[in-house]
């Protein structure tokens, strides 16, 4: 019965332990963030402050060149909104499990809700063999493990990253490589594939727009294409059933 035996402490460490494999991927990422921040000419302390104030890796990465070229306030906030819109899905998916927690817990756990913490946490909540009582401690354990890793590695990155990781290695490409790792397994049906490809093509064609506005345009087109194809598929299926 050891698996089922739970206390806040056990849940916390279990969440932390399950997050460790993801942490190995986050470490180089944090260091690279620091290096790129310095390359873009963003003051070290301000670049590092995004790790605690925003705590969202992909949005932080994308903001760096925008900071570098002095993009207006509204562009940065809008880009952050679009890039992090997926968190609304995580919030919706975990909402029923967080019901009954105090506001303090909800605020803390929401702050720690990243892609990397969401993945193990939702799997753990859905595992009914473990009683639900202390599962928010698992979420906390996973989130805090990632938070600590991110603060340390991005801090180290802005301090000594330039010496650890020399220029010209194409390290900025690791962001795209990581995203390829996230996107590919999600391309499980035609609407998803069409959504990804159309968004990608629009982003390339509209590349010359200022302040990476091509991203926003691409996101809107990709979502519309996905929705449209999905609707067409269900319409076809309903037609076939009649």
């Amino acid at each position: 019965m050891e698996e089922n035996e739970t206390s806040p402490r056990q849940q916390f460490w279990l969440g932390s332990k399950h997050t460790l494999p993801i942490v190995t991927g986050v470490i180089p990422f944090g260091l690279i963030f620091g290096v790129l921040a310095i390359e873009e000419g963003v003051p070290a302390l301000l670049a590092w402050s995004t790790s605690s104030l925003v705590f969202a890796g992909s949005a932080q990465f994308l903001a760096l060149p925008l900071f570098g070229e002095g993009a207006p306030f509204i562009i940065l906030v809008l880009t952050t909104f679009i890039i992090n819109l997926r968190h609304l899905l995580y919030s919706a998916s975990l909402a029923s499990y967080a019901e009954g927690l105090s506001v303090r817990w909800k605020v803390l756990l929401s702050y720690l809700l990243t892609d990397e913490a969401y993945a193990p946490t939702i799997v753990h909540y859905q595992n009914e063999a473990v009683p639900q009582t202390y599962k928010h401690w698992y979420w906390l354990g996973s989130g805090l493990t990632l938070w600590t890793t991110w603060q340390l590695t991005t801090g180290l990155g802005v301090l000594v990253g330039g010496q650890l990781l020399p220029d010209g290695l194409g390290l900025e490409f690791t962001l795209s490589l990581t995203f390829i790792g996230i996107v590919m397994p999600q391309l499980i049906n035609r609407p998803a594939i069409a959504s990804a490809v159309s968004a990608g093509l629009v982003a390339v064609v509209a590349y010359s727009l200022p302040y990476r506005l091509n991203l926003m345009l691409a996101a809107v087109v990709g979502i519309a294409v996905g929705l449209w194809l999905e609707k067409r598929q269900t319409d076809l299926m309903e037609g076939a059933n009649e």
Partner: protein, 108 residues
């Protein structure tokens, strides 16, 4: 942008991010997402991430490059295969980076 303005911008970016994460956890009983929005949200990660990937791969350094001498393109193709078969983000990144370095080395 002055440093004070930069800090203010970063704080607002943080507030937007937190609002997205907190909204439904806090108010799931009072907010309901319309079905169309819920369906649309499903496509946000793939659309947004692809929009970041494609220009990096096909448009490195600001010019369209579809040749085999484009290390980013070769790296991305191999990485996509690794991602599809292994479903492991870390391996994808590692193999992709090694391929990129390999191509860059071969092309001198």
């Amino acid at each position: 942008m002055s440093n004070a303005m930069l800090l203010f911008t970063i704080i607002c970016m943080g507030l937007v991010t937190f609002a997205l994460r907190y909204s439904l956890i806090a108010y799931s009983d009072r907010i309901t997402i319309p079905p169309l929005v819920r369906d649309g949200l499903k496509y946000v990660p793939t659309a947004v991430l692809s929009a970041i990937i494609f220009p990096d791969v096909f448009w490195p350094g600001g010019t369209l490059n579809l040749s085999l001498a484009n290390g980013y393109l070769i790296s991305a193709i191999v990485a996509a295969i690794v991602a599809w078969t292994s479903k492991n983000v870390f391996y994808t990144m590692l193999v992709g980076l090694l391929v990129l370095w390999g191509v860059q080395y071969l092309l001198g």
